[in-house]
Amino acid sequence: MTTITQPSAWKPAQLFALRFAICYFIIQAVPLDWKFYQALFHVRAGHYEDWLRLTAYYPTFLSGSNTPLWGIASYINWAVAAGLALIGAFLWQFKVLDVLPADRYYYLLRVLLRYRLAVGVLGYGLLKLIWVQLPRPALSDLYTAYGDFLPWKVYYHTTGVGKAYYEQTIGVLEIIGAVLLLFRKTVVFGAFLLTLLLTNILMANFAYSLGHHLYSSYLLVLALVLLSHDLPNIVNIVSFNRKTSPARSRLVFSGNFLRIRKGLQIALVAFFIFLGSLIFISFKHSDIPYPSTPGLKDAYGYYNVKSFIYNGITLPYSPVDSLRWQNVVFEKWNTLSVKINQPVKINLSIPALEGEANYETLGNGGRHYYRYSADSVHSSLLLRSIEDPSCFWRLASKRPDNETILLFGTNEQQDTVSIVLERQHHRFLLEEGRRNIQQKF
């Protein structure tokens, strides 16, 4: 059974607000959308991103190309939820549903918000702690001009290159905030911490078009509602020096309710230990979110295109030639990026939890990306353009010495090419930093 320690009187307006809030947050926080269950039944057990996506449940009633993605109109789904909640709160007045005292509903609402917020923040906290959400930029990125990135990619890279455990600390703070939500007495501290963090995250989402402004403002609202519970008392003390009694009432669990509660708590903690381990294992055993297939052996590096023969014609160095490759980066994995004087069809999609998908190419407008596979039959490399998968190069490679790679072959239109790549050694100011001022860059 559950009992309330100190029942309190609710005014009609407060009751209506409570009922509205319950309907509204049930719509937004309880997975009622069938798509959630579709995702749940299609979870691949070893893929952290599938599990993580479940923690980021956020219902959308209206979606598709006509739904606004940015600006105030993008909150259209909130208006739909509010509309439904208004109807719910109105119907609720007819007593039929009113089986429990308001205090108990209020407490249960807070429980819902606490757990929803904790679940939402824990997953992303773990991602930051393990340095997966905003990873270090790849070598191709270091050879991409600053202005050639979309703003969100600049933000991701900038955060990703921070030292001193900066990103990890933000992750730890998120985890602390979420854990504080799990205990009734520390909810206020968790909500306070998360309000500060989420405000910053939300503003950054707007500033750099990170694409998660709806979800982060949703989490911020949860934190604010939780905080509003204790805020009047805190203000009473710290601002007005008034005599203050602790928060009105709480729910005491007993019997089966106690057991259910314990079980849920243990399940939650177990889930996140599982998820954290999964992310950690993925991080240790691969380059997530970069591809895990290893690249050409000993090829990692930046290469000047020393010679470029296209259909038998030698094209000299030129910054304006739209055919000639200017320089090439071999990543540690099976990605090759090329700088050509040809506009990149920039991938405008926002960073999503796609594991090994094309994180490296998203938001990069400076280089052309190819994913390659070794073709042992033709002893060649098959380079497939990520921008346009119908474009490919089938190239044989030779290594006269450790610093040179020769590539020759044809593309999908049977144009022939013969390329000499010469490795360049570059000291990055970004890596060597400003501490040693005697160096040249």
Partner: protein, 480 residues
């Protein structure tokens, strides 16, 4: 001055307890003595430098700026890498703490005959000192971001630089400078955080906001070698002391869930003239530090145009990115080659009077933060922390004779830098010959031909403008 608890605003009648009447425990007394000396030494300088610069302020803005940057003396400085960038840079705090321990021991011995029972009043004064110290410090930076000039918008020279050729701090600063409204927002938060500390009812929230903002700034300074981690972190120490004043009450209410009767305490002025004087002082101080100082900052950045980014307009309609189509040095044409260490690969005309060219050669570059300067030629922000073989030149354009006198901004020598710090308004161009003296022709809107001397070499350079849409400027809208 009489002291009593604040009962005026309370609704419910509460037991009036004279806050000062309760004796403190011995550990509280000793702890306070340590804290008092520690914080006072971190706020009030004991050497003459700060005082003399206050006195020698030539203009009212300098006076404000020096006053608001008050900070304790440095007793210990460790000249190692860690002493500048890492954990050892906090050695001064340890030194101050040792002094505080010693001082508190002496204090305890000296007062052993008639020990004070409590330090309520002194603690109040310490809190006031800390509140004003945090407020003035954060307001300086708040207004810099508000205008927003602390992190200028990255110029074309930066947009064309590869990500790996920046130093970490430059990337961090650019990432904020890139979104001016976000920088303004951060400035507003800082101004709010400072202003909240002027008023007793909002001190707690101001302290929490300062703690959060400055912790983030200090950690970011470590993450990107920003160099002002100690200055930021000391505010976290200050805010902690203010927050600590409220912790017993909040703990009792929220964790122990007991009724709380706050016994915070304020000085009560009994005489009318005292109250008038106090209100007057407060109004003048607060308005000076916010409205007046805010106006002075506006005047500095928008009227006298003293900023980090250059402000002299560049050659009309020349702003842009140019390919170097032809490059002749002493009559010999050098073909485009990305590995050539002499031939220019690309040229940028900024919207202000800066020309940037790139060659395949490393050079010594300024790595400091780049501060606000009076003259454009000294404004290094645009080039500091940017590698990749770029040379940034300030130019004077003689549009009548179509001549550019260009000065390499990266070669200011140490003497000039030192002089500049000491002697504001020094003309660093004086006595210096231009590094390049070029004649320019503009056969079309899209082309500029430069010819003239670079040192002893004669140059002939044809530049063709490339129209570029930078992805970083893509604003996501529904149409995309």
């Amino acid at each position: 001055m009489q002291v009593e608890t604040l009962t005026r605003r309370t609704k419910a009648p509460i037991a009036t307890i004279l806050a000062g009447s309760q004796a403190w425990k011995p550990w509280q007394l000793i702890g306070f003595r340590i804290a008092f000396i520690f914080y006072v030494l971190l706020i009030i300088p004991v050497d003459g430098e700060w005082y003399s610069s206050v006195v020698s302020s030539k203009i009212i803005f300098d006076f404000f700026n020096t006053m608001m940057r008050i900070g304790g003396s440095t007793f210990v400085r460790i000249n190692t890498e860690s002493g500048k960038w890492g954990i050892a840079s906090y050695a001064n705090w340890a030194a101050v703490f040792l002094i505080a321990l010693t001082g508190a021991a002496l204090w305890t011995i000296l007062v052993r005959k008639g020990p004070a029972k409590e330090y309520t009043r002194l603690n109040y004064l310490l809190c006031v000192l800390i509140r004003y110290r945090i407020a003035v410090g954060i307001l300086v930076f708040g207004f810099m971001k508000f205008y927003p000039v602390q992190m200028p918008y990255p110029g074309l020279g930066s947009l064309e630089t590869n990500f790996g050729d920046f130093s970490g701090y430059k990337l961090y600063w650019h990432s904020i400078g890139l979104v001016p409204w976000y920088e303004v927002f951060l400035g507003c938060v800082e101004i709010l955080a400072g202003t909240l500390l002027f008023f007793r009812p909002t001190v707690f929230f101001g302290a929490v906001l300062n703690f959060a903002v400055l912790y983030n700034i200090a950690h970011a300074n470590h993450a990107y070698d920003g160099g002002v981690h100690v200055y930021s972190a000391v505010t976290v120490l200050f805010s902690s002391y203010l927050i600590a004043q409220y912790i017993p009450d909040l703990w009792k209410l929220l964790i122990k869930e007991e009724e709380v009767v706050p016994r915070r305490y304020v000085p009560l002025f009994t005489q009318h003239w005292q109250r008038v004087l106090k209100t007057l002082l407060k109004v003048v101080t607060v308005l000076s530090l916010t409205v007046w100082y805010g106006y002075l900052r506006y005047e500095l950045h928008y009227i006298t145009k003293e900023t980090k980014a250059p402000s002299t307009p560049g050659l009309a309609h020349a702003q842009g990115y140019y390919h170097v189509t032809t490059f002749r040095v002493n009559g010999t044409e050098l073909p485009y080659n990305p590995l050539d260490s002499v031939r220019w690969q690309e040229v940028i005309f900024e919207k202000y009077s800066t020309l940037v060219y790139k060659v395949n050669k490393t050079k010594r570059i300024p790595l400091d933060n780049g501060s606000r300067q009076e003259n454009d030629i000294d404004r290094e922000y645009e080039l500091s922390g940017i590698g990749g073989g770029r040379t940034f030149l300030y130019y004077d354009a003689d549009t009548l004779h179509q001549k550019l006198s260009l000065y390499d901004k990266g070669v200011l020598n140490t003497r000039i830098r030192k002089d500049r710090e000491k002697n504001r308004g020094l003309d660093t161009k004086k006595g210096r010959l231009p590094d390049l003296l070029l004649h320019y022709e503009r056969p079309s809107d899209q082309q500029i031909i430069l010819s003239g001397l670079s040192g002893k070499d004669s140059l002939y350079v044809v530049l063709d403008r490339v129209e570029k849409q930078y992805p970083i400027h893509i604003v996501r809208t529904n149409s995309k």
